[in-house]
């Protein structure tokens, strides 16, 4: 019986174009688009990669600021006229402008960058301090020697992409499973299955397993494609990768099943999935680090599985360290929680349909 269910689920899956798009293509598309947007924001090589379009009437100042500020990830683009500064800024080719005219430093911002300008204003202070030191002939009593705590290919995009992949896998799993379960409930398929000897838990497990393999394959492809597109230079522990990604996929499929319990209406189930996915994305610690969030939001973030999934993926891709016991605990909770939610959820849905 379980094998027959698996075989049937497989055929139903490969005939379902939408399911294939959802599980196979969605993570890849999301990784590419979100990866590029985040890479553009944060720079691909360093954490703070800000392009500053600069006009200077003094070559002395020009060489000073480019020398002083290059070690903190600032990239100065020198132009010939003050108008060029505004032009490049408006075209989105730089984040900030600087006009040095008769010793006056005018920092130029673009209002359409919104709150991002707050960070840039901090950089303004750094540049101004460096220039002050030079102008007043302040000797450097202290200098900083930044040392990366870890060696290797440490690019921002390499750090961000695993988080984006984690989000893409989770969203695909939740929506994919919610759509198929909601659709079966709404169309009365599960009600009819109640008169057969099929067990609800087994049925949902068979649906999940087929989607699980497809999602796992997609995750592997997503990582390989991200390597090609973003030159992320991962040192992948494939065994750990498969274990951890599998546990995350199972968890997302479990969430999709659980959401289907709440309603017989597919759209209501999709509404729930949408809210959950958006909350997960915003608090994932992927797009913006915890350090800029209000304290109460950090608590919510720590309760959501996505940040742990992203952290674990960074670990298996060789980007970040993680305590082995944490890795094992998270994998076990994800896998066990996911399978439990699928079996119990399936069982409960069948029971609800019966009543």
């Amino acid at each position: 019986m379980p094998f027959e269910l698996l075989r049937k689920s497989f055929y139903m899956f490969i005939r379902d174009r939408q399911a294939i798009i959802m599980f196979f293509l969605l993570p890849i598309i999301m990784m590419i688009i979100l990866g590029f947007v985040i890479a553009g924001m944060s720079g691909s090589t360093t954490g703070v990669n800000v392009k500053i379009v600069t006009y200077s009437d003094s070559p002395e100042f020009a060489s000073l600021i480019s020398k002083e500020a290059s070690n903190i990830g600032l990239n100065f683009i020198f132009v010939k006229t003050p108008d060029d500064v505004e032009e490049l800024l408006k075209a989105g080719k730089a984040q900030m402008g600087l006009l040095i005219n008769k010793g006056v430093f005018t920092f130029v911002y673009d209002q359409s960058y919104g709150q991002y300008n707050n960070y840039l204003k901090d950089l303004q202070d750094i540049i101004a301090n460096n220039v002050n030191e030079y102008l007043s002939n302040v000797k450097s009593f202290i200098k900083i020697e930044p040392i990366p705590a870890k060696k290797g290919n440490l690019t921002v995009i390499g750090f961000v992409v695993p988080g984006v992949i984690a989000i893409a896998i989770m969203i695909a799993g939740i929506f994919g499973m919610a759509i198929v379960s909601g659709n079966y409930r709404q169309n009365g398929v599960l009600k009819r299955m109640n008169v057969t000897p099929v067990n609800g838990g087994y049925f949902f497990l068979s649906l999940s397993l087929i989607r699980f393999f497809s999602s796992l394959l997609s995750a592997i492809l997503t990582v390989l494609i991200s390597e090609i597109i973003f030159s992320t230079g991962y040192s992948i522990n494939w065994f750990y990768f498969i274990i951890f990604t599998s546990s995350g996929i199972l968890l997302s499929l479990g969430f999709g099943t659980i959401f289907s319990i709440f309603s017989r209406d597919l759209w209501t189930i999709l509404n729930l999935s949408t809210i959950f996915s958006i909350v997960m994305m915003l608090f994932s610690n992927v797009f913006f680090p915890y350090s800029i969030m209000p304290a109460y939001m950090r608590i919510i973030s720590s309760m959501l599985p996505i940040s742990y999934f992203a952290q674990g993926l960074r670990y298996v891709l060789g980007i970040e360290m993680m305590h082995t016991e944490n890795f094992l605990i998270i994998s076990t909770i994800f896998a066990f929680g996911g399978i439990t939610m699928i079996i119990l959820g399936g069982h409960l849905i069948f029971k609800l349909e019966k009543n």
């Binding site: 969605l26 553009g40 202290i142 900083i144 999709l270 608090f283 969030m293 209000p294 970040e320």
Partner: protein, 393 residues
Amino acid sequence: MKILWEFFKIHLFSDFRNRRSIFWVIIFPVLLLSLLILTFSNLGVRGSLNFNVIVIDESGDSGMIFSQKMVDILKSLSFPNKDGVFNLTVMSQGDESKAIKSIMYGESDLLIIIPKNFDSQIAREVLLQKIGFNSSPATVETYYLPNRASSSLAQGLIEGFIGQFNIFFAKNFGQAVQPVKVKNKTLGGIIGSPSYTDFVTPGILVIAPFTTGLLLVAPKLAMMRRNRIMKRYNSTPMNLLSFFFGFTFSRLLIMILQYAGLALFAFSVMKTQINLFSPSALIYYLFSCAVYTAIGFAVGYAVSGPVAVSALSSVVNLPLEFLAGIFFPLFNLSWYIQIFVYANPLWYATNAMRQFLGVSISPSPMWMNIFVPGLWLFASLSFSLVKSLNERR
């Protein structure tokens, strides 16, 4: 006209009675706006930053106060002091490897090590300067992870403070410091300094009708096509245009109500200061509603059923919103992603709405903000018309 009115009423009231429509029209945009503001309203504001910094003073008991002074300055920049920017943990000598591990495991963002000879180096530096000789400054090592945003930001922040340390020491040794004249200029500024609420509200006013267009037009149309309701209409003397306008006007009214509700919420609860009832914004909003309704028609004709619409909208919706710069600004994008941005009607709508609502001048020319969505409107309507005529045959 009577038939048009009947269609208008039927579709309008059917959505008022429908929980899922209520969700997408009211609850979803309000929830999204609230979540975004609650999460990112402190974005980049100095008082809201919270890095974990470790300092190890290895200089020991040298009898001089320079290293202690530096630790004190770091303490003054940390919590619970007002405008603190990090949590400071002072570790003792010998804990270096433990502290580095803490950085590598992501538990802390930055490690500052004040070296053993720090005090003597600064004392020598002061002495040599007084007699006119040059010497090398005292080196403070910082350990960080350049690829982790919070670690890198913390490193940049400390780098910036070093300038202040040097000026502090220089002033203490009697040197006059002439600050450079610094000015600010903001391009495209309409209101003084917009908050994140002001920045994101125009974007939400774009997402809301887009979602309505996609989810209150396309699935309904797909369902009517699947159940052959459109074919049955064809066998009646009813004019196709009555259905089209009745259905479309009911969507437009929902979108107008959506604007009013969202504007009221943003103004009264979220305290936005943007000009929500600017006539230009309202006219552009109506134009956007027409574009999104047309896109909804095209999607409804392009896909086979309501479930397919949900799958398609899940795939399309999120990337389009990200590539519209609604949640955060877009820059440094590769040319091939830029193509998607330039083709994205939501990007133009967000730019235009930000200008009309008084947040910032649109980075794209206003004629483009009308022309490109207009192209979408034309293409979507043409596609829907061709499909509709084919199905009639």
